[in-house]
């Protein structure tokens, strides 16, 4: 990330995010959708592309993440590591991409296992390393 362009318009950042999501889709079977976004809610990359119900996922994830951070701050319990919404027919997992102003959000079908969440974490870590060292 060079900082010259906003991340969502920086071709190097976008292509790294696209590759990271494709890699995640290959190893995480319950993955229904995933998105890399800036902390302030701009979409950098998303799979599947163009699905209308995920159009607002970046801005919703950004708001959710910030509210979770506010709760963690209020309770003085360290830093927010990841956020899980466990719904009756699926789940949403959101976590930061290293120390970058970016996050990775995954929508999972019901029946996901802890290994799937671990894959999402590993994908975010790998993307953070890639973006730190252009």
């Amino acid at each position: 990330m060079t900082g010259a362009l906003p991340p969502h318009r920086d071709p190097a950042v976008v292509s790294a995010a696209v590759a990271a999501l494709a890699g995640l889709a290959a190893v995480c079977r319950p993955l229904r959708a995933a998105i890399v976004l800036t902390d302030d809610g701009f979409e950098i990359a998303r799979i599947p592309r163009g699905a209308d119900e995920h159009r607002r996922l970046a801005s919703m994830a950004s708001a959710m993440q910030a509210l979770a951070d506010a709760v963690v701050r209020e309770l003085r319990i360290g830093t927010n590591q990841h956020l899980v919404i466990d719904a009756s027919e699926g789940a949403v997992v959101a976590l930061r991409v290293g120390h970058l102003p970016c996050a990775l959000v995954a929508v999972l079908d019901d029946g996901f296992v802890p290994d799937d969440v671990a894959e999402i974490g590993a994908t975010a870590d790998a993307l953070a390393r890639r973006l730190h060292t252009p």
Binding site: D40, G41, A66
Partner: protein, 185 residues
């Protein structure tokens, strides 16, 4: 006076977060994220969910202050926060690209609240914009809501006394409006 819920709306950079921090008597709950798009507004952070502050009134009543994110990609928060509010504090910065268009857009987005609750408009950063912004905003606001007389203030969101005066004008509009709604039922 019963508990009041006031919503601060307006475009990014209008001073919503600043105004709530100026007015609140508690540490505000804020949801700022790094602003990655400096072309929109040249500031370090931007609100992505809400701001929340409180002012005590008497012994057990309070005014709750909610601020929305200014950018339309967060409009789902506008819907959520608008539902509980009884008054709208609309802030527009005088140095916005087109403050008059912004007033129309914002009144459109928060029309439900503007129609049923109190409404005041504050023009912030007025020393940085054209001189006639307050007058032009007043004209467009009364054209858009002809049956209302909408107070339009020039305010500095960083100034406690100015914000407090504007908030109190809004609270009396909220109460007047509630009285009218009761009478018409």
């Amino acid at each position: 006076m019963p508990e009041h819920v006031i919503l601060f709306a307006g475009p990014m950079g209008a001073g919503k977060t600043t105004a709530i921090r100026t007015l609140s008597e508690i540490d505000v709950v804020s949801t700022e994220a790094a602003n990655t798009d400096r072309l929109q507004a040249d500031k370090d952070t931007t609100t992505v969910a809400l701001d929340y502050g409180e002012i005590a009134v008497g012994l057990d009543d309070k005014i709750r202050l909610y601020g929305v994110p200014g950018q339309s990609r967060f409009d789902f928060m506008w819907t959520i926060l608008q539902q509980r509010a009884m008054g709208l504090m609309l802030l527009i910065h005088a140095d916005a690209p087109n403050p008059v268009v912004a007033v129309g857009d914002q009144l459109g987005a928060f029309l439900d609240l503007a129609n049923r609750g109190g409404l005041v408009i504050g023009i912030t950063r007025s020393e940085l914009g054209p001189r006639d912004v307050v007058d032009r905003v007043r004209t467009v606001a009364s054209a858009l809501l002809p049956e209302r007389s909408i107070p339009v203030f020039a305010v500095d969101a960083r100034d406690y006394e100015q914000m407090r005066t504007m908030l109190m004008a809004l609270i009396s509009d909220v109460e007047e409006r509630a009285e009218m709604m009761r009478a018409s039922r």
